[in-house]
């Protein structure tokens, strides 16, 4: 490392490795969530505390099921990209890499679980 010049250290890194793709992804998903989140609150909110039959009957309808599904998928992709920046800001070296992998895995596992659960209720 001591023999590298500043130019060599920066070469091939791009802008923080990903350029503007990350920024653009956050912008697009945030606009989508701006529509989804209020609808999600008004669809899921009243159902919390209801009994099992009411909940399963409600989410076997296409609109509530699709809104819940989309909000979890887009929301967790948005979370994955957001938490990556959080980790990049506060962790360095190997810890940074491991934390990003762990949180990416958690995000995708949560997405898969949400799809499975809502599909099973709806179908």
């Amino acid at each position: 490392m001591a023999f590298l010049t500043d130019r060599k250290r920066a070469n091939g890194m791009g802008a923080a490795n990903t350029g503007t793709a990350h920024f653009r992804g956050m912008t697009v998903s945030s606009v989508v969530l701006l529509v989804l989140v209020p609808v999600f609150i008004f669809i899921v909110g009243p159902l919390i505390g209801e009994d099992h039959d009411t909940v399963t009957t409600y989410f076997s309808r296409p609109f509530p099921a699709l809104v819940a599904l989309l909000t979890f998928v887009v929301g967790l992709v948005h979370f994955k990209n957001g938490v990556t920046v959080l980790i990049e800001d506060y962790a360095q070296g190997l810890a940074r890499k491991i934390w990003i992998i762990v949180m990416t895995a958690v995000s995708y596992a949560a997405i898969a679980t949400a799809i499975f659960a809502i599909a099973r209720i709806a179908l």
Partner: protein, 127 residues
């Protein structure tokens, strides 16, 4: 030629020596709320999974989510969701090059704080 050794500069931001300001505090809370929302998201996914599994599994998930610690998590998350949403709107406004002046940025910070509290109260009142 460039210095071969990397200078040992202090890391930014210097959180400990900054006086709290509307811009910095409203911004850090966007980050905190956004990342903390993972907790209630996982709680809700568990609730959905339990509903998909069986009536008895749903019973336990429903018990946890409607217990008073569960209620606290859901109400705090509701506020966090509204606050983070308004914070996102501020970012979208900033992205167009508008509202970057100190006065405008601070005013939007107040809109985020008061707006999120009002929206949270309205949401709870509606249900």
């Amino acid at each position: 030629m460039a210095d071969a050794k990397q200078p040992n500069r202090p890391l930014s931001p210097h959180l400990t020596i900054y006086r709290p300001q509307m811009t910095s505090i409203s911004s850090i809370f966007v980050r905190i709320t956004g990342n903390a929302l993972l907790a209630s998201t996982l709680l809700l996914i568990w609730w959905f999974l339990a509903a998909a599994t069986s009536a008895s599994a749903f019973e336990s998930a429903n018990y946890v989510i409607t217990s008073w610690p569960g209620d606290m998590v859901m109400i705090l998350s509701l506020w966090a969701l509204w606050y983070h949403t308004l914070g996102g709107v501020r970012h979208l406004i900033w992205d167009t090059g508008r509202g970057l002046e100190l006065v405008a940025a601070e005013r939007m910070g107040w809109v985020m704080i008061i707006g999120s509290l009002v929206l949270t109260a309205l949401t709870i009142f509606c249900f």
